[in-house]
Symmetry: D2
Subunit: 378 residues, 4 copies
Amino acid sequence: MRRLGVGMIGYAFMGAAHSQAWRTAPHVFDLPLDPEMVVLCGRDGEAAKAAAQRLGWGEAQTVWRTLIGRDDVQLIDVCTPGDSHAEIAIAALDAGQHVLCEKPLANTVAEAEAMAAAAARASEHGVRSMIGFNYRRVPAIALARQLVPRLGRLRHVRATYLQDWLVDPAFPLTWRLEREHAGSGALGDLGAHIVDLAQYLTGELVTGVSGLTTTFVGERPRPDGTGQGPVTVDDATLFTARLGPGIVASFEATRFASGRKNGLRIELNGEHGSLAFDLERLNELEFHDHTQDAQTAGFRRILVTEPTDPYVSAWWPPGHVLGWEHTFTHEVADLVNAISAGADPAPSFADGLQVQRVLDAVQDSAEHESRWTAVTAA
Amino acid sequence: MRRLGVGMIGYAFMGAAHSQAWRTAPHVFDLPLDPEMVVLCGRDGEAAKAAAQRLGWGEAQTVWRTLIGRDDVQLIDVCTPGDSHAEIAIAALDAGQHVLCEKPLANTVAEAEAMAAAAARASEHGVRSMIGFNYRRVPAIALARQLVPRLGRLRHVRATYLQDWLVDPAFPLTWRLEREHAGSGALGDLGAHIVDLAQYLTGELVTGVSGLTTTFVGERPRPDGTGQGPVTVDDATLFTARLGPGIVASFEATRFASGRKNGLRIELNGEHGSLAFDLERLNELEFHDHTQDAQTAGFRRILVTEPTDPYVSAWWPPGHVLGWEHTFTHEVADLVNAISAGADPAPSFADGLQVQRVLDAVQDSAEHESRWTAVTAA
Amino acid sequence: MRRLGVGMIGYAFMGAAHSQAWRTAPHVFDLPLDPEMVVLCGRDGEAAKAAAQRLGWGEAQTVWRTLIGRDDVQLIDVCTPGDSHAEIAIAALDAGQHVLCEKPLANTVAEAEAMAAAAARASEHGVRSMIGFNYRRVPAIALARQLVPRLGRLRHVRATYLQDWLVDPAFPLTWRLEREHAGSGALGDLGAHIVDLAQYLTGELVTGVSGLTTTFVGERPRPDGTGQGPVTVDDATLFTARLGPGIVASFEATRFASGRKNGLRIELNGEHGSLAFDLERLNELEFHDHTQDAQTAGFRRILVTEPTDPYVSAWWPPGHVLGWEHTFTHEVADLVNAISAGADPAPSFADGLQVQRVLDAVQDSAEHESRWTAVTAA
Amino acid sequence: MRRLGVGMIGYAFMGAAHSQAWRTAPHVFDLPLDPEMVVLCGRDGEAAKAAAQRLGWGEAQTVWRTLIGRDDVQLIDVCTPGDSHAEIAIAALDAGQHVLCEKPLANTVAEAEAMAAAAARASEHGVRSMIGFNYRRVPAIALARQLVPRLGRLRHVRATYLQDWLVDPAFPLTWRLEREHAGSGALGDLGAHIVDLAQYLTGELVTGVSGLTTTFVGERPRPDGTGQGPVTVDDATLFTARLGPGIVASFEATRFASGRKNGLRIELNGEHGSLAFDLERLNELEFHDHTQDAQTAGFRRILVTEPTDPYVSAWWPPGHVLGWEHTFTHEVADLVNAISAGADPAPSFADGLQVQRVLDAVQDSAEHESRWTAVTAA
């Protein structure tokens, strides 16, 4: 079987999750190419070496540019913070390497546009790119996508992504709370996921938004012990939106919802039914079929572990649930299949750019008294 | 025991619920006055007579003004559509009769202001008034109010009121879908409840909003069979808001959420904990105590049926649940107690006016591209 | 309309619930007879008088025999402890008065047999009797009964009734914990309900059982302060059973399940589907349709508040939930309808006897090392 | 780091799960030994070779005895049907190889006793053995074990393991439905898990049982198309039991509970609280603290994904849920740690034998009219 050399840049939370995916996918799915975990790259040499060994990579490097154009690396997996995505991804694509890039695509629309353009150019030469909106690969979400046509004309999307890790004002001022590194706070980190899911599930684009952002705790202790520093991103963002011709939607992303750990919830209401999903119970999908007689209608809890469900046949028998990390295994499997088939995988950099435009419009609206702000299609 | 003669105007859905409350309260609670169901009033004589008999009222009248100032009627219970609230309530108050008025207080802020002014004048002469935001009297909501201080500084309110009775485009064009009678659609009917609950539970007022309204089905069949007529109210309304010094909130009211029958849900997140409530499970309250160790923390499902819970000791042993109608029984019991004690009951007409101002601001914002619209305190 | 004079004996917990039912039923349902709450009877004269006034009865008596055969009392409602059921009910039936008798029918099979015989005799003269297994009148249970045929051949019943009010060893030794008054403990009080529901829902009778009983706390403080006294009933009873030709069942009744307040849960599994019910969420029924495609099958949460649901059209619109007490209102409404129609209502005293035989067999099995014990049909 | 050569016998469902565990554990946990997946063994040479390649094993063999005593294989992982466990495991132990054996330990008590004896002998020479009751390694179960002391004196265990894959009578007669291969049906396959969990969580042994077994569908089509053949194992088994000095318990294992896919549920009630777990939601644990004030007490849903929870720190941040297969990764990690530390891991073969005795007693009781049957400690 033809090999596919992979080089991964960044090895923190996302890097560990991607590594588990690269290690596992070939043993679970029938892949047409054989992924080889060639090299891991991180700035701290010792740490990178330890990570490579622990996570199963063949070698460690400290300068990402050394991975670009390497003969034995056909795919670059970008797991760094958002401010370096554009530079790395564009370099790799231009060098003819496929790219898997973590979300959000970039910290600014301008960067995202450049990336989408590079991806489009590369695609003409058979070089593929994908953005890591991994929640599209939760089996329950993929099943929901299949069921959406049964909802008929869509009316409502209701999406929240609730976490609580910033509730304590003593939590330190990490790079995620600084605009120059993170671009934004809850908006980009959490909001990006729910905007993508809303667009993916409905098959419609956000056309306009009205946003509201807030920073509850304005100063936090610097990690280096040099006193307090200013938080320059949003702690929470709420926005209303319109999608396609007739859907109204509400979105909320926050790191201050005490007790909600990973509360990505999305509900769709259509004239013939509804769907609801909660990431904390990711093996389940709730489905209401409004065409059934009222007496026995109701939201049914579907345990999405049947062999006929998306991705599930590769795993275990009914009722044997999957976890969060499996979304990445599905992601790399789909990516490898697309590369082998000579097709562009989804979600594309253009999809990532579209999400970025929505986030940008939300920010803009929030800075202008929540006034309605149009979003143009990418 | 001193009697309290009651006259009720209107006898449809709300009238039936209020009647059940007046019949039941004296047998369940120790009331200081003895309510007597003197007279029911409705425009159709035959129907009013039948309703009076069925619902347990002593007599029936067809002209509401005949109830005003009657010696044997000390309290007027207003269960009519919103466009007649102001005229009836003000007449009764000016005649020295206590008033219980269904929500929303009125169809316009101007009417609501006149009503609040009349209520203030009347109060100086010992005449009491109350607006029927009955959900304050769900035991779980009343318990939530008691627990709010344990949440510490509040950050988020998340409130929806989801119904689905308009999903079918063949549903007829009733008065509730015409602005001249109903004032607004989901906004006034459902939104009023969640705005009141948000303000009641947090103890803070809404200071500004950004709104979005939509009408999914623009025309519906007239009930008299004369073809289609225009729907002139909102089918759904979404808005973001700020309350008090630092709370951000999202609200949604809709009649198009397939499968959601009475989906009034409200969640509060504070720095020390969270509370969540769902009207479809009204005997339950979810409470997360964020000050406990993380390993055993989580949302606990409190079954609010303990004798120490608000209102519950009058009813049944633990685990024997109450229903929706009990909120009205609690409402009239509290009202009778307040009258006897010479105190103004809550929620007041001023509270109803404040909610009206919020709804008005939402409407105004929605008509001006969702721009941020301030709400002044009543 | 013809009146139906009612006399109620006993006025504690059950008496209060029945009173609420008699007060309410005529105002909610279209009854063919007009129930009149003539007389309440209790041994303590002052207390009975106060109860009569509070609960809405015309007068109070202290000797139950004075109600038997009274011209103005056509129906005797028996709400006393089980040891007096037989004497009162038989006297009333023999005097030509209809009888509503609380469960369990009696404390012994012999008494229950005598009562069933009296009921059969009385029925020949148009005198009706009913045992108060009120949970048959939960709308969700009545709906479940309608849906059972859709389950196909039944395989499993799984029923528990879990409470926790005896967990504290300092809870006093009330009459409910003494065999001479209560007959048994959790078995008769809670087990009776789930045995009746299992037989009612499946349409099959229990044919044999294997039982296990236990008393966790053997001594408790006497209420009169004279030290500790022995608990002579079961704190918890578990049993397995067979129903009809091929159903296996498990039952558990306990007062020691910390945190379970009124945890009556029953699940039925058939070859074409399943049903599940929980009394703490009594407006809901869970239904799994196994004939649907596996991908969208799952337990659906039916909110049993549709106008087409049993009893519901008399009450409120969809989503406006009912409470525990409504079961009694439904019970007396059905009883009044049966009396007017000249039909024997269900559940009958014979049904109550059958349940008694099952409980007796459980006790017998438990006293003989859980050996299988057959139950003969009543 | 010292290597630990592993040979796995059997490569079906359990073999795939174990392989995923061996591949993953070294990359997630800090293991003191380096497991090497040396050889997979299966009777069909071609299939075994394909499986070895797919699952990540170095080579394939067809005769299990060739793995016994191999220098490069220090640990034998037994994933075959129950009728070969004893022979393989004893041979390996006697050859000085550590053994991980899938549950149930054996098909008969006699075999299990021989295995436990072999394990005891081997332990004296530093050779370790473990039975694969993997659900002990669900983080929520491990956390429950830690919380059990907070429940005080235990009163109740309520355990079910509900599946539905045999509901269809056309499902073929596989080896799992033949007594000579499988030993028993639902009893050994599902019942073994819940008996082990009950004993593990309470820290008490089952001392006696009363059992009931049933076979709903007596004949099924043979897989080879030669007509119908008899089902010789139980489709469902129910039993009551006593544990330790004062706990009563109910158990049910079935493959006929329509809609229940992997419904392993266990609840413990003690005088100071309760715990409840459901394998279909394996990242959650419900905990009721009965010592808290009644007004805010209730079952709390603990999301067992905190870094302080058992096994979790090796994985992802709070709210990022794990799946069913992770239990095996935890299992092999604990086993490797025990081997390195020179300690006997749990659960031991003696634990497996004890479970086998309970299952045996249930079978015996069921064959003797459910009479109470004592279980002696292993």
